[in-house]
């Protein structure tokens, strides 16, 4: 059993993994190139939304994650802005209505008692919604959290439990001996351990390539607008049907032609009152720029659904890179051809919801314990074989 583990990457997945390892008494070193949450976990939304997860392994992992979040503030002794305010998926067209009815049916079979409300009921539940809205889903179990706070709290709790954290330290190579990964090299310094967990989000393939392992994680950019502070009015997660369609769509379809940047509305409000208005889904490599066309399209979709937003100021915009995989599921588990090497990455747009659950599973796997759930759907081998 491993006694000594290196975790590479200080996003939500890496910090969570480090925390659960340290909590089990394992000697952990977390190595991050820049700062905690400097990557995607610091450039994203705040939803812990189960409604949007595909029924099956993703929903199971989501349920596992949601349960962890319920008590996480107490466990980490930190304010995470966690709030269980429910969530809605807004339905604007008959086409969306058909698709979402079907999704809701499957979610119900999987155990989520999601309601389907009329436009009238939707407007009652969420003031300000446009008159054209046909309806909405509603599930009281959806929650939200401040992702930066989660990452920092995980890192601090890990540290309190004895983990060493090295920031500003970019890992450039995986060290191997006799067919086994035995450590990493960062800034010219070599560090050895019984196991190495790579939790680098979109950057994961860059490091694994150095040791001959290919995996199909690619960046899928999302742009988000930040509004001026406004009085609280969004108390739950809001997604539009168009957002769900963009999330689950396959390449090259009709939707892609109509909406090349994959714009759909996601709306949340921060503790300080700013709205986070998302978002897009774009395959443009590691480019983090915001673009006027997409910013405008996001603004338009927000105003269409919330006409009053037309009078509101957008104060800035930012972009993050979702670690996308072709089947929409992350990779969580060992790299078979390299004993000692593990991967936890590829959560696309669900890493905040799934990060703590992933960390707990990964911690178990890295020290040779049972995962605690079925991890076969997340095996790297599904892409390599």
């Amino acid at each position: 059993m491993a006694e000594n583990v290196i975790v590479v990457g200080g996003g939500i997945v890496g910090t969570s993994t480090a925390y659960y390892l340290a909590k089990m008494g394992i000697h952990v070193t977390l190595i991050e190139a820049q700062d905690i949450a400097a990557g995607t976990s610091g450039a994203c939304d705040r939803a812990i939304m189960l409604q949007s997860k595909a029924p099956g392994p993703m929903l199971q992992l989501g349920l596992h994650g949601a349960r962890i979040y319920e008590t996480l503030e107490d466990e980490l002794e930190a304010d995470l802005e966690y709030r269980r305010g429910g969530g809605m998926i807004l339905i604007e067209t008959e086409e969306e209505m058909t698709a979402i009815r079907e999704l809701v049916e499957r979610q119900r079979q999987a155990g989520l008692d999601i309601a389907l409300l009329s436009g009238e009921q939707a407007r009652e539940l969420q003031p300000g919604l446009g008159a054209h809205l046909l309806g909405t889903t509603w599930w009281a179990g959806d929650a939200e959290v401040n992702p930066l706070k989660v990452c920092f709290a995980m890192a601090q709790a890990a540290q309190r439990a004895g983990a060493a954290i090295r920031m500003g330290s970019k890992v450039t190579a995986l060290l191997s001996e006799r067919g086994r990964v035995v450590g990493v090299e960062a800034e010219g310094k070599r560090t050895y351990a019984d196991a190495v967990v790579v939790a680098l989000g979109v950057w994961t393939p860059l490091l694994l390539r150095t040791i001959g392992v290919e995996l199909p994680i690619v960046p899928r950019k999302g742009q988000i607008l930040v509004s001026e502070r406004v009085p609280a009015f969004v108390s739950h997660n809001i997604l539009s049907g168009a957002y769900i369609a963009a999330k689950h769509r396959k390449d090259g379809g009709k939707e892609e032609a109509q909406n090349p940047a994959g714009v759909g509305l996601s709306l949340g409000q921060t503790g300080s009152g700013s709205l986070l208005i998302g978002g897009s889904r774009e395959f443009v490599g590691f480019d983090l720029s915001t673009t006027p066309q997409v910013i405008r399209a996001i603004g338009q979709s927000a105003v269409r659904l919330f006409p009053k937003m037309a009078g509101m100021r957008v104060i800035r915009a930012f972009a993050g890179l979702r670690p996308y995989t072709p089947d929409g599921r992350p990779v969580i588990g060992p790299v078979e051809e390299w004993p000692g090497l593990y991967v936890a990455a590829g959560h696309e747009g669900d890493g905040i919801a799934l990060g703590p659950a992933t960390g707990r599973i990964m911690a178990n796997l890295a020290i040779g314990r049972p995962a605690g759930c079925d991890v076969a759907p997340f095996a790297l081998s599904r892409f390599t074989q």
Partner: protein, 407 residues
């Protein structure tokens, strides 16, 4: 609005307006965008006697003339429109009075400069303003920022504005050093303030500045040390405290008083605090190039302290490494209006040539006019500006050698 033009110019300051005129002369269609309703930029607030020509430098009048000349050449000036993004294709996104997209062949960014902030306890109270606000309200809007005003900052701009307010009838309670802080650094040291003033002695465009500068530079020698024997100097009815700094601003909901302290020649605070009654405080902490749009456009940026900080990398003809993107005026380094005008002309010519048009002015003449303007300028904001320009030329050469330039 969604339309095309040959050239778009962001910023209707002297650099932007003159560039627009030059490009229009070469037969190009030009649109100038500025978020202020009237053209002129920072030129609008400038009002002083030019010691070279002994004539009056009336920025409002010059702005009007430039705008009129531009109008006669068919330049379209869109006022009240903020450019909030620049696309990779140089398209401009506008918000404000006209909303929409401009799609030019070539783009000039002439967004000017902004003022550095210099926090001091109480600096957010209504009545504490930047020196540029005092200049604009006094000279452009003809409204007093207060009845009794303290000016914190002993530099050419602050002294000019103090004098302009005094002439307009404001009771200027004094001009003192800016607050001592990690950001003000040497600004707040008497030695440095005196040295800066000495630098502009013979060119100073108004009585107060000239007198203060002469005092600083004058017969006194060695300059810095002996000049510091005096603390309070009274010039033309305004007192300057070379050994006094602002340390706090007080008041319930608005400025009611300011607290001052003496400063040793090296800049450390000494002695007891004293309080004076004022209803406005104006702080001068220096200018820096307003680079936001250049950065959004994707122009490589370089840090050149002598130019005022971060500036877009640019070549001798004010071209940038991005094809058909040009920069001019204070965006390229902090200097006075005459330099901005000469740079505008140069940029206008470069743009015309980049679009295959002939110009009356040769590139050499345009460049020479810029350095002439520099030597005759009544305002020198950055003491080592020439070194800064040379450093940029060097950086540009290095970039070309690396093959960065796409043009």
């Amino acid at each position: 609005m969604n339309d095309a033009c040959d050239v778009a110019v962001v910023g209707a300051g002297p650099a932007g307006l003159v560039a627009a005129i030059e490009a229009a002369r070469a037969g190009l269609s030009v649109t100038v965008v500025d978020e202020f309703p009237w053209p002129g930029g920072r030129l609008l607030g400038q009002l002083y006697t030019d010691p070279r020509s002994h004539g009056r430098w009336d920025g409002r009048k010059i702005s009007r003339q430039l705008a009129q000349e531009a109008g006669e050449l068919g330049v379209r000036i869109l006022g009240g429109a903020t450019v909030w993004a620049v696309g990779r294709d140089l398209s401009l996104e506008l918000s404000g009075v006209p909303v929409g997209t401009l799609r030019p062949q070539a783009l000039l960014l002439a967004t000017g400069a902004a003022e550095r902030a210099l926090p001091v306890p109480g600096w957010t109270k209504p009545g504490v303003v930047c020196v540029g606000a005092a200049q604009t309200f006094t000279n452009v809007h003809h409204v007093a920022i207060g009845r009794r005003v303290l000016v914190a900052g002993i530099d050419p701009l602050a002294l000019s504005v103090a004098m302009e307010m005094h002439h307009a009838g404001v009771d200027v309670a004094g001009v003192v050093l800016p607050p001592v802080s990690t950001t003000s650094g040497a600004l707040a040291s008497p030695e440095r303030a005196v040295a800066r003033l000495a630098d502009v002695a013979d060119l100073a465009p108004n009585g107060l500045l000239r007198a203060a500068a002469r005092l600083a530079a004058g017969k006194l020698s060695p300059l810095a040390v002996s000049a510091l024997r005096f603390d309070l100097v009274r010039v033309g009815g305004v007192s300057i405290g070379f050994r006094t700094a602002l340390v706090a601003v007080e008041g319930d909901g608005r400025v009611e008083s300011a607290t001052l302290r003496s400063v040793a020649p090296d800049g450390t605070l000494v002695g007891p605090e004293r309080r004076i009654e004022v209803d406005a405080v104006c702080i001068s902490a220096g200018l820096y190039p307003l680079t936001d749009l250049a950065e959004i456009a994707g122009c490589p940026m370089v840090e050149v302290e002598e130019l005022g900080g971060l500036v877009p990398l640019h070549g001798p003809g004010l071209e940038t490494p991005l094809e058909r993107l040009f920069v001019a005026g204070n965006l390229t380094g902090i200097e006075g209006a005459k330099v901005a005008i000469a740079q505008g002309r140069q940029a206008g010519c470069s743009i015309a040539r980049s679009l295959g048009r002939a110009t009356l002015v040769s590139p050499e003449d345009a460049a020479r006019a810029v350095s002439d303007a520099r030597t005759s300028s009544p305002f020198r904001f950055q003491p080592r500006i020439a070194a800064g320009r040379a450093a940029m030329a060097e950086l540009w050469q290095q970039a070309i050698a690396r093959g960065d330039q796409s043009a």
